[in-house]
Symmetry: C5
């Protein structure tokens, strides 16, 4: 996730230069193409752009699912095939573009962050997906092989739900919806971790737990940076006038908007809860320290004066009458016991223990 | 209340899938139907949707009060009977939808949080209620059996107040009003608890009291999350143009708006007061610790030098002239008394005690 | 002032139910009526609503000054006499309505908080006043007998200033103006108290002084809650289009607006100053504690090693050559003096004292 | 500056009553009148209003520079002579009016705060100046004799710059500009003081330096209160439609706006820097305390166990074999040296020194 | 960078006076002129304004690149040659003008901050550049010799990218773009420094590291001040209606806007991360201190009572029976060992070590 925090740019190169920004990936680019409508469905994989069909047959939808956005040549060819502006291509090639929506003349370009737990390490992975929507055409760009779109692909394959009966705009919505659903899943994990941290702090406020709280806080910071702009973007989508989003899909955007708002609110809630946890830690810790200092003070305050008294009778003066008294030792011991008891009573009254 | 903090979603399922979100409830669904106008009144309970009347006789109002929103089949049938969009149904089936108002073509859909103290534990319960208002029809969905609507039902039954003489929009308002009134009651309990906590902190700043303050702060956080959006929603209601809200009811919405603003302001006030309480605790605690450390310092600073002196005359050198002096012991004791007094005077001057 | 923080409501009763909210007052309701214009003036007291004249003679202004808003019957009669909506009456009967302005069809309803120092205890009293303005008619509602309107009454009686020459809207303004002037007076008292607290903290940072700072902070919180909405309200008044506020009065509203802004700014300034005072206290206190700990450390660090040395020569080993030396005692004493001086120099260099 | 924090008002007096608010000044009022255009220039002083010319000869500008706004009679006469509304006069007589712009029918009334270092004490002085602009007429009101306008007067006298060639609006601008320039000068002094305080805190974090930081912070608070509204006011001026500000002067207002924004930004920057300084102080101070406590701990932890050991061999039991060993004393001394060294190594490893 | 924090102005001089504000620079002014279009290109250096060509041949673009903005005469001549308003010239001569965009009648004037690492010291340098754009003419003003424009100059010289084929507005954009790219480079350095500081604080929380954090925080503060207004400015540029920015360039402004937003977000992210670092330091430091105090307490609490006991048997009373017991010494030693073990167990239970 750290790389997400570092802006990276090719300073000095002309704008629109096609350079992949992000960690290098060696895997080959794979282009999966779905062509479908209510009655028809085909799914093919290509590794060369020239084989990819451009225009879907009348009444059919084409989804070009590009796995691997690092290959300059392939991106250029895709750009030419589907007449995509070079600045859009350049954004789609980045892994570190911010979440945004560009409303172009006859197309929508949406950069989103896909967030999911890594299969092995269970760490949260933030990955860029770009959507390019034109009439009947949806192109998606992403780098890594794992994604969260499989349920949608299955719905297309098995003709479940509304997707095969609707246009490219519904597909566009459905993919965004599944991304937002995954935000919620990730937030549930964060909720669990917050709860675990809270219990562990209440039980024993250790500095290592607090470091985990700070780590979680920072993860939330990056998550928020990725997700926060979505609220405004969905609102913008609801008002766009390109005609690419049909009225039937608009009502689903309302639902998407609700989810986005809920995600943002949850992030804020967890931020406040983590801040409370840190306060809590401080408080419990300072309370523990106060106990320590009180213990020190009680022990010192009782024994330092007593030690002084026994020191007095350890002096070697020739003429110290008390030392000669037959019960001197016992009298002094009695006095010391009384002093100790009085001091304990005083501390008890002061509620020190 | 914890569950309210966890977003929950059926990721990957098509939008509009009817799945109950929230803790499972086994109780049977019960549909209570009130049909009334100024002169007429009937109240019936149904457990099957097919028996529920759809259209009220001309000039009558129908209130369909659905207790139990977890049964997919029943919800689907209700949706068909009253032609409710599946996304609306899906929101009505959730227990964790955020507070919101959807203005649909010829209907209003309002999700609210009902807040009331649990009858047994007196804990605060947050429960979702959904209102679906069409011309002359109001449908309400909720899960648990206890609610705060009984006074309204009685007003309908006994033909008290304005409710029997007004339309479905007034009923819609009246139910919302009683929910908001309950927010105020809950806030009064919070006010009492805040006061108790304050007194207890002023009397004896214990860490357990502070934990109660943090608990209350968190309860307020969830309450605020549920209630805060209402201000904007009521404003939106006042401006809606479906014609479902008549002018006579609009003036009551103003009153509702005042209450909502008052509730929000009170929440903010309590938040500030709790924050002050925490500061207060910190301050009193640090003050108490300062007393402890001062005590330690006074005792140590007086006795450590004296102990050194008696140590000196406890040494076993053969040649220590003072030890031989006849009044050596008494002289040394006198010196030590003078030293102790001087140090006490110094501390007094420094205002240490 | 505490009661101002507790919202209070008659949950479950129909809206518009006339119930007095606030502490009960036994005093009888007294209705004072001023009828005046440039040439004419009459002042009468009534205790029954039926005697109160409704319509002023042409060209005259009537001010109905209702002392006591707790009597349901009287309020109902007033409502009928002057055709006031029952929701307005219900707000006017409350003592805990928030500051607000309702622009009605042919009337303005303004709820304000009157703030003044109590005659006996000099504590700040917050009391609700409601203004109901119609053409040539102004009705004011309040509960307690003391108010800040006496100067205005005298100006009417003695035909001073502009009030007798202007309409009901000017009277409306003049009463609001005197209320805002009293805010400024109360703020001056707060300024004095802030200054006193500051001096007292600088002289001796005691925990009781800090508690007074917190009390003052809370008073400001309630004051702000009462006064803050006024800025927006006066702006709303300047733009209202009922025609009840004449152009001549509009220029005075500008002046009122200036005062309201000034009051709000002063409240913010005092809040910041009190926050600084608390920081100041913390700083001075921690500084004092640092002195205490330094004292402890200096004394301990000097005497603990010396005590060890004298302890060494207090041991009873048979074979300790130093004990037999003739000047052993004096040598050891010399060494200890040198050590103490070196340590003092070290602390001096470290700027510990 | 303290008085600026205290709102002051004549509660109960009719609005528009002409009373001077602020500290009383005994000096006589002096009215200086400049009449000029490109070719002509005259400067005269008057102490009676009746001598002051009202209307400038055609094509000439008149600047009435009133030194002393405390004399009720003179203000009234000026008001009559130049037909100024009594509320405007009443604001011009105050020294504690907030910064504001009133756009009147055919005049602009601007209240500004002049800020300059006092000639003797170098303290910052905040003084009110009011501008009243009508066609070809500018009237300025201020109380104290010192002002920052001398450069403008000289430019008029010596026909330098654009002022003699332009209208009253340019003079209006030029005076405001010189006031804003002085804000920048005052801020430069604050920058110097901030830097000095920072160096002094880094060198030796003393509580008295921190008090200076708080003083400076409070000065900035008052400065900000005076200057902050200017941004909005200049924007308002740029949009006003009285025609009093010509297009030629509008471009200069843009420049003024830039300066005002820069001043506001600088104030925010210094506020942040002072906040950082306070954090810095806290940090350095707590660091110093940590050193103190570590010293105490190291000394105590080394010597307390050693003192215990020598105490053991100071006991007077008849049967203590070690005391009889010939090398007992030396063995014990050796053990103690080893213990001390081990403890020092332990502390070193823990990086305590 | 310090100078950027000090506002500086020529108070009292007429507005538009041409005075260089900033540190004095002795270097001669050098004017580099590029004249180009798709087919043609010339580059010349001039040191006298009279030689500079005014109007480019039809269809050609002229870029006047002024190195050195401190020479009043040259600036005046440039102003006359290209008819630039004197207030614009006066802003272009400053080094401390804030970031702003002036939309003039037929020209755009943009003041930007160029930020780059100094070649030698690697410190961050903030330098002002001003752009003055008219039809086919772009004039840039800056003071220091180093700049970040060389890549653009090379693209013009070598006819790379789009710059030779586009108008002056594209050059205007390209220069701004390279400045923004450099912001990102500088932020990457800050990212690296933040990471280094974080590691160093986690390893060993030293006060000197914290001072570096505060230094970095302050650098970010100045950077933010320079960069923050850009977002609004680019939005303003996108909406300007002078026709100076062609539609082809507008799409590049969108890209620029994205970068500016990304830079602003990164600055906020680093600010939050630095704030977290400071919290982290505090926490680790206080944790370390707690360890110190616990060590002190454990050692003191164990040995102070034991020292008291050995003190008791060091007393010289004639009659102390224990001293005469044959195993007295060993019994006492045994008791002390048991006491020490019990106390250690107690501390272990309390989790003090």
């Amino acid at each position: 996730m750290d790389s997400a925090s570092k802006p990276s740019i090719k300073a000095g190169t002309p704008p629109g230069t096609l350079i992949h920004i992000g960690s290098d990936v060696n895997s080959k680019v794979e282009i999966r193409v779905f062509i479908y409508n209510d009655g028809h469905f085909s799914e093919n994989k290509y590794s060369s752009v020239s084989d990819v069909p451009t225009l879907p047959p009348a009444g059919q939808i084409i989804w070009v699912d590009v796995d691997g956005n690092h290959d300059e040549t392939i991106m250029k060819q895709l750009g030419q095939k589907f007449s995509i502006h070079e600045l859009v291509l350049s954004d789609a090639m980045s892994d570190e573009q911010r979440t945004k929506l560009d409303i172009l003349d006859n197309a929508l370009f949406w950069v989103l962050k896909m967030v999911y737990p890594d299969k092995d390490s269970q760490n949260i992975v933030i990955e860029q997906v770009s959507f390019y929507l034109k009439a009947n055409i949806l192109i998606t760009f992403q780098e890594k092989r794992e994604d969260v779109f499989e349920p949608i692909r299955n719905r297309i394959r098995q003709c479940k739900g509304r997707v095969r009966k609707s246009g490219a705009d519904y597909l566009f919505y459905a993919l965004a919806d599944v991304i937002v659903d995954n935000y919620i899943i990730v937030l549930e994990r964060i909720a669990d971790r917050t709860e675990t941290l809270e219990e562990s702090i209440m039980a024993n406020p250790k500095v290592s737990t607090l470091e985990s709280v700070y780590d979680l806080k920072r993860e939330l910071l990056f998550l928020r940076k990725s997700i926060f702009p979505l609220k405004e973007i969905v609102t913008k989508l609801q008002k766009e006038e390109t005609g690419l989003i049909t009225d039937q899909t608009q009502i689903y955007l309302k639902d998407l908007y609700d989810h986005v708002v809920q995600v943002n609110e949850s992030i804020e809630t967890y931020r406040e809860m983590l801040a409370s946890l840190i306060d809590m830690y401080m408080m419990l810790n300072s309370n523990a320290m106060n106990q320590v200092v009180k213990t020190l003070t009680i022990i010192s305050t009782i024994f330092i004066p007593l030690t002084f008294i026994v020191g007095v009778y350890g002096m070697n003066f020739d003429n110290m009458p008390e030392l000669r008294w037959h019960y001197g030792y016992f009298i002094i011991c009695g006095i010391m016991v009384v002093m100790a008891i009085l001091m304990l009573l005083y501390f008890r009254k002061k509620k020190w223990f």
